[in-house]
């Protein structure tokens, strides 16, 4: 390919290189699942434009609709993945987990819920203010949590900070969340993600990216799963275990067509992991489905995505300038 200045400038101006392009792709992630839930028509039968338009508008119109705010998605072991795809994906996940610092951004159907940054042993979790999702968020009504030097800082809704000198002092309510937070960035956590996918396939994408897709097996099919790494896997275990038979649980009764998608960049590091499933109907009280909490409603496609960024950037995570110590 020519590398004249004019063509280089042309390449640089490509829509693919514009910052919002990734966000655009993320909005499309659920589209594939939506389409395959429509009846195939390989014989080229009569068109149904109204249905098609509705499908597409739905695909682009979803906002946040899930019940839990967690920072990483993973499920359980299936053993049928092609070894080459599995090995390559394993390598990418291991390389990503080995990064000393980075950012993980959780989105649900394109809406950011939480951002987790880590730098060595320091971790910062921030709830996105634009997220309408409050129910089930690991931070509850609080805004941020910092793990620094063995202590915990919690920022409350009024902006003030509380400092716990040690993680053991945060109490029963926050204790599990602190433990889970520390586990979010554990290397084994990322590797667990792979263990949930069967039929893992690897395809080359544009600009040196690699796409991995797999199918998530329902717990009823694979009851041997053992997930206990952190909040996310505990939650997903519930969804896939006893929770899976609970139609009131988010994601309850989701079928085996749930999918895992992972995008690895040209640098060999994971860019995005998505967990896509059909939710039979909205749980009462959740945003965007106040009128739809009925078993008779069609399934909704829910996409949890974790976007990795700033890997190795060594971004600082600092103590708040002012905080109130909790007396021992």
């Amino acid at each position: 390919m020519s590398t004249t200045p004019s063509l280089k400038a042309l390449h640089d101006a490509s829509p693919r290189h514009q910052p919002e392009f990734d966000a655009l792709l993320e909005r499309y992630e659920q589209l594939g699942t939506q389409i395959t839930s429509s009846p195939p028509d390989s014989a080229g039968g009569p068109r149904r434009p109204a249905h098609r338009r509705r499908l597409i508008s739905l695909s682009l119109g979803f906002a946040a609709a899930a019940a839990l705010a967690v920072v990483l998605g993973g499920l359980t072991l299936g053993g049928e993945s092609p070894q080459s795809a599995y090995a390559a994906a394993h390598k990418a996940l291991a390389a990503t987990s080995a990064q000393r610092s980075g950012t993980m951004t959780l989105t649900v159907n394109g809406t950011t819920l939480s951002t987790l940054r880590w730098n060595d042993h320091r971790i910062a979790l921030r709830k996105d203010r634009s997220s309408a999702l409050v129910l089930g968020h690991v931070l509850g009504p609080d805004l941020q949590m910092l793990l620094i030097g063995g202590g915990v800082y919690v920022q409350h809704q009024d902006g003030t900070w509380t400092h716990y000198a040690s993680q053991a002092e945060v109490g029963e309510k926050l204790g599990p969340e602190v433990e889970g937070l520390a586990a979010e960035t554990h290397p084994n956590n990322a590797l667990e993600i792979l263990s949930v996918a069967t039929n893992l396939t690897k395809t080359s994408g544009p600009n040196g990216t690699t796409l991995y897709t797999g199918t998530i097996r329902n717990a009823h099919v694979d009851p041997q799963m053992t997930l206990s790494q952190n909040d996310v896997t505990q939650v997903l275990a519930k969804l896939r275990g006893e929770g899976a038979s609970d139609a009131n649980a988010p994601g309850g009764r989701y079928p085996d067509s749930s999918k895992l998608r992972m995008i690895v960049g040209h640098d060999g590091l994971v860019k995005r992991i998505s967990f896509i499933f059909q939710q039979p109907y909205c749980r009462a009280g959740l945003p965007n489905c106040p009128q739809s909490g009925s078993p008779s409603n069609p399934h909704r496609t829910i996409t949890w995505s974790v976007r990795y960024s700033h890997l190795g950037d060594d971004q600082p995570i600092t103590r708040p300038t002012a905080s109130t110590d909790v007396p021992k």
Binding site: L31, G32, I35, S204, T213
Partner: protein, 195 residues
């Protein structure tokens, strides 16, 4: 269709979707008049692929098939839009804001592209932005490959000439910055290629 057939079909579609989503999204983005039309087109393209999966070529040939489908979808959109309103025709005659108007190189690229005819511009961008070969472009635009190669060569040369003839950005007296031209072929469907 049995459940096994359906699952096999879904798996093939998933692979197709994963592999080509970015390309189709990119093409629809710069090829559409209106961003929302481009977004709708992406959904249309993959819905067509799902419904007619047996007609989608396998392997590398799937890509030009999808781009060609996208091109037809957007052509249909343009016709429907034209029937609804002639306002868009007037809008097409207006230069479209670049993605980053503060970036002098983007401005120069935009100006250089605006100087190309719509067909030259399309084959150039299919090659340089989408990475399609001349043979693949031929499938997309329904022209003989030899004609596409010739047009592509000419488009590259014209683009380079137009790009290099512009004064470096930052010169307030630069004709390109003082008086941006409307797109050549203003009624074409390629006016938002940098939006």
């Amino acid at each position: 269709m049995t459940d096994a057939d359906l699952e096999q079909r879904r798996q093939r579609f998933d692979a197709l979707f994963s592999e080509h989503l970015a390309g189709v999204a990119s093409y629809c983005r710069w090829r559409s008049d209106v961003p929302s039309d481009g977004q709708d087109a992406v959904g249309e393209v993959f819905l067509v692929a799902w419904r007619r999966l047996d007609e989608v070529p396998s392997g590398e040939q799937a890509r030009p098939w999808l781009y060609a489908t996208a091109r037809r979808v957007m052509a249909n959109q343009a016709r429907a839009n034209a029937r609804r309103s002639r306002l868009r025709e007037r809008l097409r005659a207006q230069p479209v804001a670049a993605a980053d108007e503060d970036d002098p190189l983007v401005g120069r690229v935009r100006e250089a592209l605006a100087g190309l005819g719509p067909r030259d511009r399309e084959v150039l961008l299919l090659a340089e932005w989408e990475g399609l070969t001349a043979a693949e472009i031929a499938v997309v635009v329904h022209r003989p490959a030899v004609a596409v190669r010739s047009r592509l060569h000419r488009a590259r040369r014209r683009f380079r000439t137009a790009f290099e003839s512009q004064e470096p950005a930052g010169d307030a007296d630069s004709p390109a910055r003082r008086s941006p031209r409307p797109m050549a072929g203003a009624s074409s469907r390629s006016t938002t290629f940098l939006s």
